[in-house]
């Protein structure tokens, strides 16, 4: 069996490279998700802001990032980000050396910014579905703004947002396939390299597909149990 040889571990096969690449995919996805969640805090605040300008900035962010192909967002960041950082460094500090940002960082940032736009929408949505009455009830027993936010709003927002954030995670995981164009050797790029070198594209793209399936399945199982935990106290709707 040819493919067993191709996918074997060690120097003669590509199995160990594929596994290493899977680790990279996981690392990038996690970093990107964290970056995205961080960004989405500001995104949500901006989109719920009373200030029109800030709200417009938030809306522009989510509309633009969600309306442009992920591939282009990644390309733009990959090629544009270094330039931008360098020109900022130059104008602020007069620093005119090449500043090199690690590929991993750029990749995580690029996917993170995409992921952040989707997370923003999810979290904003969750804020809006927390019943107003529960907030009023909190006020009516004398809770101040901080307590209302921290004791009533946040726990509920998390619960409502969790399924949506689970979807964003799956999206993020799959989007990392596109960062192959930055040269970072994650699953997709490794499959690309290996299939090019061995002229066995089916073997390697199929392996990649299976690796992604394993990742998405494992994480959706984890997400389900997280949801069950967060949904304590909420009656399941009858099917």
């Amino acid at each position: 069996m040819e493919f067993i040889h191709l996918l074997s571990l060690g120097d003669q096969g590509w199995g160990d490279e594929m596994l290493r690449a899977t680790m990279v995919t996981i690392m990038v996805s996690i970093s990107a998700m964290c970056i995205g969640l961080f960004v989405s805090i500001f995104g949500t605040i901006a989109k719920l802001s009373k200030n029109r300008l800030i709200r417009a900035i938030g809306n522009t962010y989510t509309t633009v990032v969600r309306g442009i192909p992920e591939l282009l967002v990644i390309y733009l960041l990959y090629f544009g980000f270094n330039n931008a950082v360098m020109s900022i460094a130059n104008s602020l500090f007069g620093y005119n050396q090449y500043i090199e940002l690690p590929v991993f960082l750029i990749a995580a940032l690029a996917v993170g910014i995409i992921s952040g736009a989707y997370s923003t929408e999810v979290i904003r949505g969750a804020f809006l579905v927390v019943p107003r009455g529960q907030i009023e009830a909190a006020k009516s027993v004398g809770m101040n703004k901080f307590l209302v936010f921290y004791r009533v709003l946040i726990p509920q927002v998390l619960r409502y947002a969790l399924p949506g954030l689970g979807n964003v995670w799956q999206l993020t995981l799959k989007d990392t396939a596109l960062i192959m164009v930055t040269g970072l050797v994650e699953i997709m790029r490794q499959a690309h390299i290996a299939s090019g070198s061995t002229y066995s594209p089916f073997t390697f793209y199929m392996s990649a597909a299976i690796l992604y399936l394993v990742l998405t399945t494992a994480s959706s199982m984890a997400l389900n149990s997280a949801e069950n935990w967060a949904n304590k106290g909420v009656k399941r709707e009858k099917a």
């Binding site: 019943p131 009455g133 529960q134 009023e136 009830a137 909190a138 006020k139 009516s140 027993v141 004398g142 809770m143 101040n144 703004k145 307590l147 004791r151 009533v152 726990p155 509920q156 619960r159 304590k232 106290g233 909420v234 009656k235």
Partner: protein, 256 residues
Amino acid sequence: MITALKIKNLTKSFGSLDVIKGISLTANQGDVICIIGSSGSGKSTLLRCINLLETPDSGDVWVNEELISMTKNKAGDPCPADYKQVDRIRTKLAMVFQDFNLWTHMTVLQNVIESPIHVQKISKQNAIDRGYDLLKKVGINEKAEQYPSSLSGGQQQRVAIARALAVNPDILLFDEPTSSLDPELVGEVLRVMKSLAKEGRTMIVVTHEMGFAKEVASKVVFLHEGLIEEQGEAKEVFNSPKSERLKQFLASNLEG
């Protein structure tokens, strides 16, 4: 006798819609005031102005003879002068909502002890002990560990009453506390409310339950288009209404 609640010349409008057009009202300690009136007459708005869930446009509110001080914000709209005072006064003025508004992410007991622990900084053990007492009082102590979504509407409303009582309020505000309940569940909530009235609690109740009003109200206030059209003792108001509006209202309400 202390005046528990005093309202003077309260007005409130939403945009161009004048909802409360100047209402004054006084409740002495132990009074049960029932507010009746047709839909849209401003009953909920009046109640929500009292504990500042809505900010009144003008007029004054005293709770336990303490004036809630108001000021104007930059845009020239009225707003509370001191949010700390508002938070404090709100614990004196617990509100029970029509649709319960229990916190779904907490158990029944957690709902009841939340405010005593986090707002009034009572020790957790004390709060729990008091919480159980209150749940027993409204007859629902065996549900303490359950989540609100597994309770019936009447049970939820009784939890909401226990939660309101937990902050040891001087005045209870009820906004149609039985109108989102099935007829069969109404009874259990009204029973609890009657027992509170007997204890001598000061209560302001917006309600459609004329039977309840007749039985426990020290005063019935009939609101019409943002003004008090008629007020007086329950018997008087129901049996010999003076205003044409009230007569109409009572006729249409008893017929169903």
